[in-house]
């Protein structure tokens, strides 16, 4: 079974500062990878997904970007944080094509922007 490691576990950052969140998948080659964002008490919103290395599709524009530099790595970043970026960021993977397979989530990163 695959394991999903997200880092850091939590971040407190200042408005206008840069951000980089990481996600590494072990135990599955060529997975589909996703970034989700969840406001406190809210639902999950898909931000990006990637089917292969170097390819990332944006679902929602939130002044964030994502990259997939390796088959097992997915990075979420921005050069300037906004207050609205606060929340819970979850990396997820599915083993098959599109979203037709079960989705598995990492433990998440809690981000507070002050």
């Amino acid at each position: 079974a695959q394991t999903i490691h997200q880092w850091p576990v939590a971040e407190i950052k200042a408005v206008g500062s840069p951000l980089s969140l990481g996600c590494t998948i072990k135990g599955k080659s060529s997975p589909n990878l996703y970034w989700y964002w969840q406001a406190t008490g809210g639902t999950l919103q898909q931000l990006f997904y990637s089917i292969t290395v170097g390819q990332v599709e944006s679902v929602v524009q939130l002044n964030l970007s994502a990259s997939r530099p390796k088959d097992d790595q997915f990075i979420l970043s921005t050069e300037k944080l906004l207050l609205s970026h606060s929340g819970f960021y979850l990396c997820a993977c599915s083993p098959g094509q599109g979203a037709r397979d079960t989705l598995y989530f990492g433990a998440g990163t809690r981000l507070s922007v002050l």
Binding site: N32, Y34, Q38, T43, Q46, F88, Q97, A99, L103, A107
Partner: protein
């Protein structure tokens, strides 16, 4: 989300009782997944359905793609069932997009 209407928004059950959660879809949905999120934020996948029903222990889920709804039945509720339950609908086109419902906060009391 707009595509997925989840109900109820909150539910309180006593141990040993049973209930059901429901998601209505406003557009064609290829498949549905159900998740439970604990207090630390961890999400566990409970079911993936492209059609029909699935059962796992005290949980049972059904998906009717024609009538555009899915249900999650919880039988003999236990304290550890507490958490927030989300359904997620897969878009009909192969875009990799899942739309989540707003969630149901389930509290199981002794």
């Amino acid at each position: 989300g707009d595509q997925v209407e989840q109900s109820p928004s909150a539910l309180s059950l006593h141990e040993g009782t049973s209930s059901a959660l429901r998601c209505n879809f406003t557009t064609t949905t290829r498949s549905v997944q159900w998740f439970r999120q604990n207090s630390r934020g961890s999400l566990i996948n409970l079911f993936y359905l492209a059609s029909g029903t699935k059962e796992n222990g005290r949980l049972k889920s059904a998906f009717d793609s024609k009538e555009l709804y899915s249900t999650l039945h919880i039988r003999d509720a236990q304290l550890e069932d507490s958490g927030t339950y989300f359904c997620a609908a897969e878009a009909p086109t192969n875009t990799g997009k899942l739309t989540f419902g707003d969630g149901t906060v389930l509290t199981v009391k002794p």
